[in-house]
């Protein structure tokens, strides 16, 4: 395929991008008391000078930042201060049938606790001022999910007693995060990546300029001008610097140790990171010539992973002086 037709026909690429991590949060002495209480089926607040009894308890007064330590038992019943009705719950929300997010002012508290109210999916059964009480989780672990939901007070049952009292205060809570994005590669990157799928490495440049950017960046970083001209560069290049990575990383699939190179492709003016294989570690050096090793043709994709790795090329090294501007 020609560059022109690639540029013209390159549909922008989209792909799923997921950020996921099981964050574990140490909670400090005040929240520890709150979460330990939940584990025991009890609710506790803390008294503040300016805002009354706070639930959940805070370490400090919300207006004055003074430290707080005067715990107060609250609830378990309370009243809905305000709410919003969720008719189409998202998968990570606590209930999968229609429910309300609500601020619940527990008996003895002066502030609202944000939680969910379950009225069996019937919006007409929820109202401001209604009396509610917790529906406790069958298994309580010492986090906010120990309350499954608030329900109308007459439907609530007391917290099942703790079979075996855990004397260890709750020290941390596990709060898994998973966010899904529909990533768009952008116009220039899409052309570059479509080229990769054809085993063509394309760089971009400003009209009238001779510096070529691989991969394209959407603009020339020096001038912020667009780089609309595409040129093909070689899949051979020179190692301008490198490191040997022996430390594991969650998101990296290469077997340790691996050689991470900054490679300057012939015809490009921007080194980029990739890996070097088929080379003894002690033989890696600045100035060595390398060539891209592509995945088999039937596995080519619009992704830099289509270059499986770089491998040494049997050519003399480039003298340091010739590449030092790029090192």
């Amino acid at each position: 395929m020609s560059i022109e037709s690639l540029v013209k026909n390159a549909k922008p690429l989209r792909g799923p991008h997921v950020i996921e991590y099981p964050f574990r949060r140490s909670c400090g002495p005040i929240l520890s008391r709150f979460f330990s209480g939940l584990r025991d089926g009890k609710l506790v607040g803390i008294r503040s000078r300016t805002s009354g009894v706070l639930v959940p308890p805070a370490e400090y007064d919300p207006e004055t930042a003074e430290p707080l330590d005067d715990f107060v038992d609250v609830g378990p019943g309370g009243e809905v201060v305000s709410y919003a009705w969720v008719s189409k719950p998202r998968s990570k929300q606590p209930l999968q049938h229609p429910f309300a997010y609500a601020l619940v002012k527990l008996d003895g508290a002066d502030t609202g606790l944000l939680h969910v109210v379950d009225v069996g999916g019937d919006e007409s059964k929820v109202s401001t001022g209604m009396r509610v009480a917790p529906r406790w989780s069958a298994e309580r672990k010492g986090d906010i999910h120990d309350i499954e939901a608030f329900v109308p007070e007459n439907e609530a049952v007391p917290a099942p007693p703790v079979m075996k009292v855990d004397e260890t205060p709750v020290g941390s809570v596990l709060t898994p995060l998973r966010l899904e994005y529909d990533f768009t590669a952008g116009k220039e990157q899409s052309v570059f990546l479509r080229g990769i799928a054809e085993k063509m490495i394309l760089g971009a440049k400003r009209p009238g300029d001779d510096l070529v950017y691989v991969p394209p960046r959407g603009a020339d970083p020096r001038t912020a001008e667009p780089t609309p001209e595409f040129v093909e560069v070689a899949d051979k290049g020179t190692v301008v610097t490198y490191s040997i990575v022996r430390v594991p990383s969650e998101n990296i699939d290469f077997e340790l140790p691996y050689v991470c190179i900054n490679v300057l492709l012939d015809g490009s003016d921007l080194p980029f990171f990739h890996v070097l294989q088929k080379c003894e570690l002690e033989d890696v050096r600045i100035g060595m010539r390398v060539q891209a090793s592509w995945v088999p043709d039937d596995q080519l994709e619009p992704s830099v992973t289509s270059i499986a790795y770089f491998e040494p090329l049997d050519q003399p090294d480039v003298p340091f002086d010739d590449i030092k501007e790029y090192c």
Binding site: A84, R90, Q189, A224
Partner: protein
């Protein structure tokens, strides 16, 4: 205080962008710089606002530098806030006397993720985020509190929407616009009761760029400089259950400190992503019932997160520069249920 004027402004908003952040920002920056009459190298300071979470990439703002020009090296800073706060930092920098001009920009994409859920991670990470309340739900709780307190009626909310979407017809940057009667809007189903879809922000992708300049040079650069006469921002406590959601003390305070009430206002551009919030903010910031608000359509017409506050300020400035009013209040907000607020009073010469 030094006199500082907004000398140029450009923006881009679209429902969903396939371009990269750099590709979106680059032409907007070029336009704002060109309109300012300054060369890039003549602009002393650069400050931007954005959030890494919109694209799910740490250091997203680092790449954005490619789009605005940073070679030779520039004096530059970045706030992880709406661009309105970047403008504040730039204005402060000019007040120190170290610099005379600044390029301010912001950008955001709301389309790649479920933006309502992404914003749930700005809440209490121990007790609230694990329940994943989306921003529409939290705003719904606030709206109901206002309805119950008699501060706003459903009809008033629909009136706000109807007016904003009608005004937005004149705004090429609006992504939601149209002529809808109040009754028509009230016939729509609830999205998150008491909010209907049109009561919620018109989430969009885009970028915003502004050039500001101190003193006499600003007078040389533009026919009618728009001067920043007062500038302030404040924050309220975060816990929604601790705040009285029918009151926004930080909005009241920043409008007062910026001098909103120190003279006649011709109009206001405010950040009210949910329709009831316009009514609430009018009340808190002391805006008269008949004062034109959000002639741009506001966030109900285009809501490019991290840029929308700076857009309100820019829209107000351009209206004054075009001779449609002499003195205006512009406002930005961020955080759930208007936790943090910023006000700037603009005046044409």
């Amino acid at each position: 205080m030094r006199d500082v004027a907004i000398v140029s402004f450009a923006q881009s908003n679209a429902e969903s962008e396939i371009r990269s952040e750099v590709e979106i920002l680059q032409p907007v920056a070029a336009e704002a710089i060109s309109q300012s009459g300054l060369e890039r190298s003549e602009i002393d300071f650069t400050c931007s606002g954005s959030s890494d979470w919109l694209q799910g990439q740490p250091f997203a703002f680092v790449m954005a530098l490619d789009a605005v020009g940073s070679w030779p090296p520039i004096k530059e800073s970045h706030v992880e806030q709406d661009g309105a706060w970047a403008l504040y930092e730039a204005w402060v920098k000019i007040q120190t006397g170290e610099v005379d001009s600044a390029l301010v920009y912001s950008f955001g994409k709301t389309s790649p993720g479920d933006i309502g859920l992404v914003q749930a991670i700005q809440l209490d990470p121990y007790c609230v985020t694990p329940l994943w309340p989306d921003l529409d739900s939290l705003s719904g709780i606030q709206a109901r509190a206002c309805l119950d307190a008699g501060i706003v009626t459903e009809r008033q909310m629909a009136e706000v929407v109807s007016r904003c979407l009608r005004s937005a017809q004149d705004n090429p940057h609006a992504v939601r616009k149209g002529d809808y009667s109040v009754d028509e809007l009230l016939d729509e189903p609830f999205e998150v009761s008491p909010l209907r879809a049109h009561d919620c922000p018109a989430n969009s992708d885009g970028a915003t760029v502004m050039v500001i300049m101190a003193g006499d040079r600003a007078k040389d650069l533009c026919e009618r400089p728009v001067w920043i006469r007062g500038f302030d921002h404040r924050i309220d406590p975060p816990a929604l259950g601790t705040r009285d959601l029918t009151r926004i003390p930080s909005a009241r305070l920043c409008a007062e400190k910026a001098g909103g009430a120190d003279g006649r206002l011709d109009f206001a551009e405010i950040t009210a992503p949910y329709s009831h919030q316009e009514v609430l903010l009018r009340r808190e910031m002391g805006l008269a019932d008949d004062l034109p608000v959000n002639l741009s359509g506001g966030s109900l017409a285009a809501h490019t997160l991290m840029s929308c506050g700076l857009n309100r300020i820019g829209d107000a400035a351009m209206r004054i520069a075009g001779g449609h009013g002499d003195r205006a209040l512009a406002h930005a907000a961020q955080g759930p249920c208007l936790q943090q607020n910023l006000a700037v009073v603009l005046e044409g010469e």
